[in-house]
Subunit: 309 residues, 4 copies
């Protein structure tokens, strides 16, 4: 049987099943609520987390616990990984106890972490050699989206494989977009973080100017929000900047991690991103001065400080 | 009668009138359709434009023509100016034949041009000495908004004066926001252009990255538009950037003029705007290379060129 | 007699004379020591300063005092202006009591202030209409150079006029370079300030990195100074940055003024200067926070603060 | 015998010897002429290069050839590595056939490549566990400096170890500076490349402004070179920028590699380097468009292109 045939058969199997046997690796801020939703939707989950204690809450709700990624993956049709960064994904998939050593031919691995597109393609090649298809499917929408199933999921990989998994992924997100071959999901997430970087800086500059001018900042905010200056950031995060108070939200530390991936990807592709590069430098300063765990709207700190506000 | 009493009486007069006697100076891309709407709404207009021939179309629709700003202003209750830049506003109001020399005590001047807040305050002081109140009321929404009355109008000056003029300004815009004392309208417009600058750059960086990565750019565009990266620019102008085609829209040359005002204002206030300053430099390059009359989304040219796209 | 003949005669006259009759306007930090050197060299000076009291010290050394630029210029062969900014030069030359109203045909005006090249050309045209040649001759070298005659003088205007004045200008500076037609001296000064801006930023980034790394900063400084990273700034100002102490030197406020001229000139010429524009933004922040009167090496404050140093 | 005693004994041994037994790994543009100088100075060299054919020229001059870094290191008192990047250094020292497996206790390894300070410290720890001291000793001065022994060598590690090696390193460079503990040499090199980045950008902005202004660019160059704007780059590389011709020199590709190390180091240390980050973005664009093998002064291409020059 060729790989192509194998893919067709597997796809059908996953499509027809209502209960999928899933290995889920990573019980962090995102992974835990996502796994919870999959359990609620009736799937059979075997879970693993490096810090084992974090498996307990889900185990009480019916998940089986595994002592390693390899064990979590063993015998499943689908492995989902949701961990912190590129080296973590490499470790849980390709490491000595990695999922790859437990997965069966014809199964699918979906990495929902935000990591390097280049590393993603290398992992996919290793999995392919074992007869395992991979999708890269990073998300946006934060822990709130993870809890209520409203994540936006950007998927790279074979379109047919994604189609077979829509019933499962639909439990996690309400917007699932196929954006191209393997790695494209990660590039799309990188694009997302690059655009966010510049948009936050843009809004923060506007807020600083308004604060310094001593006008009615809330009225001005309202006046510019409806037109060409409008953005999610302007609508939802300018208030943080005006109040100089930055509750989470999305951590500066994590945004900078993602921006680092984006800049590395751009470097490899030969794309100059001067604004994103500048924002990364500002975020470096914010982190150094202890503001890395605040919401990313705290970029306004930089502009406020420069203006003595 | 004190100035305060005078203001109260005048306000009432303007409120009660359904037909206002208006001097309108500036028949450009914005001024002409705005004057047209005021005529249609039943107001008496006396119009003037430096290039006199541009008065003709409106004259055919019933406007009286004046040979100078002074003559256009003579005897009116309200003078509206809508010209290109700070020196033009200074000339049509304070110049030898300027409106100030024709305006009667108790009348109001509303400058709807986009100019320097500092110059605005100086003009207002000169008018105040003649018993004339001034509002600065720059707009966003472009020539389309000027034609269909959907401009967003950001107003600085006395709140009471604005209230008296809402019936007139309501003909021109559907969002009229009082943002503070005289000059605040211009600062708000500056804020708007600063935010636009950074947001365009942000989206253009994202587009360049996507194009270089060779993914499904339209799908990726759709995937990121609904979340925290979302903006008017991303929704409405990324397509220009993807197509490398920049139909108007809003001219780069004019945005750079406005950005120059914003940066000058920021300089006076002591606010550092590194991203806006960077965008101004990019726009300088675009204009030098002949792209000043394209839509401002052509900032994507910079990022595409750098990436060899 | 044609203008050309007039120029030839005048040139000869100035060349042959050992004592030149000079009107000198501006007794500031730079102008006072420069005028002092000219007196010592045996020239006849008539001086004027807006704040008249600043004329006194020079008057005691033999200078005649004039109550206006016009009076200072009356009957002289050469007028030198050394004031703060473009509007000041315009006022002392073209204003109601300006030098232009006192100068005789065939005399020469040398503006040694640092101002706009565009304004310079306009002033030169007004002077030319009165039969007066102008050189723009801004300097570098600071008050120390002004005191000991080691200024570097960058001269725009007719080469022949400069040649006729070398004996006089040689009292003030030891490097006098003809760089092109009128305005070119100011552009060269602008170039100087642009290069300085980026070089200071470059050195400050290096210093911040070294301080954060905890290495032997003085040894590292020495190690990199002799090679391709070497510069006047690295040799002479890195020590300020390391000590976080910024004695004058050259004021940040004045450098930003000059950089503003440079950026405006670049805007007119269509040249993008993103690094200089960025430095201007940093300097805006430094000034707002009260550091404008320190030496320009205080740009290191920005990088140190960002790094929590 | 304690480590401390061992170090003292070894130091003495190396000091007294006139002929040192050296393993030299890396026969590239830099390594080959450096190895040549050591042979000429009378030292016994065993050389290795990944592409073995590059060993031949040196072998003809008396060097022994080794089939691996391990073999080159075997029995020597000193191993010098001079390869391209961090992974190469890790491979030739720590890899399966790496030098570490051949080195004897008490020997010293000097890495003269330009690599990550963090990786350097990790390598040093591995070597220390084997009783081998390490110095990081990156150089500046290019292939010319490598050929004539005028390199500037920035050394991190134990001062005593460096002292013992001065007779050998003095053959390679004429400025050898101890800058701190292990890794400090690499940080100093990073500082050097950061300062170079900003200085090149500064000079290129000045050149672009001068070219656009149409003045006598050579005269202007001369006028500003002697003062506060002066730098090695201005003196030695502005001519390239004026001619728009960029013969080597130092490759843009290699400078960007080094700048990447510097930015990564700054990221780890929490130092914001916005100008260096911007230059890296420009260099990314230059490389993408095929200019990576030109001299790094080709950053002027960016500014010239933006200004349509």
């Amino acid at each position: 049987m060729t790989r192509r045939q194998s893919a067709r058969v597997r796809t059908s199997a996953l499509c027809e099943e209502t209960t999928v046997n899933i290995g889920f690796i990573g019980m962090g801020t995102m992974g835990a609520p996502m796994a919870g939703r999959l359990i609620e939707a009736g799937h059979d989950l075997t879970i693993h987390n490096r810090t084992r204690a974090r498996e307990e809450a889900l185990a009480e709700r019916g998940a089986a616990r595994a002592s390693s990624p390899k064990e979590a993956a063993a015998g499943t049709d689908l492995v989902i990984t949701m961990v912190s960064d590129t080296p973590d994904v490499e470790a849980v998939i390709l490491g000595p106890d990695g999922a790859i050593h437990g997965m069966k031919e014809g199964a699918v691995l979906v990495d929902m972490s935000t990591i390097s597109p280049t590393a993603t393609r290398e992992i996919a090649r290793a999995l392919e050699a074992k007869g395992v298809d991979m999708l890269d499917a990073p998300v946006s929408g934060g822990s709130e989206g993870a809890s209520n199933g409203t994540l936006s999921i950007m998927v790279g990989g074979k379109a047919g494989v994604l189609e077979s998994l829509r019933p499962v992924l639909g439990v996690l997100g309400n917007t699932i977009t196929h954006v191209g071959p393997i790695g494209s999901g990660q590039v799309t997430k990188a694009i997302n973080q690059v655009i966010i970087a510049g948009t936050y800086a843009a809004v923060a500059e506007g807020v600083a100017l308004g604060l310094a001018a001593g006008l009615d900042i809330d009225a001005a905010h309202q006046a510019v929000s409806g037109g060409a200056a409008g953005s999610w950031v302007l609508t939802n995060r300018a208030a943080n900047m005006i109040a100089d108070h930055y509750p989470l939200g999305f951590r500066t530390r994590l945004h900078r991690k993602d921006l680092g991936i984006a800049l590395e990807t751009a470097r490899e592709l030969g794309v100059a991103l001067p604004v994103a590069a500048f924002v990364e430098q500002i975020e470096t300063g914010l982190m150094k001065r202890g503001h890395g765990e605040e919401d990313v709207s705290n970029i306004a700190r930089f502009f406020r400080e420069q203006a003595g506000l």
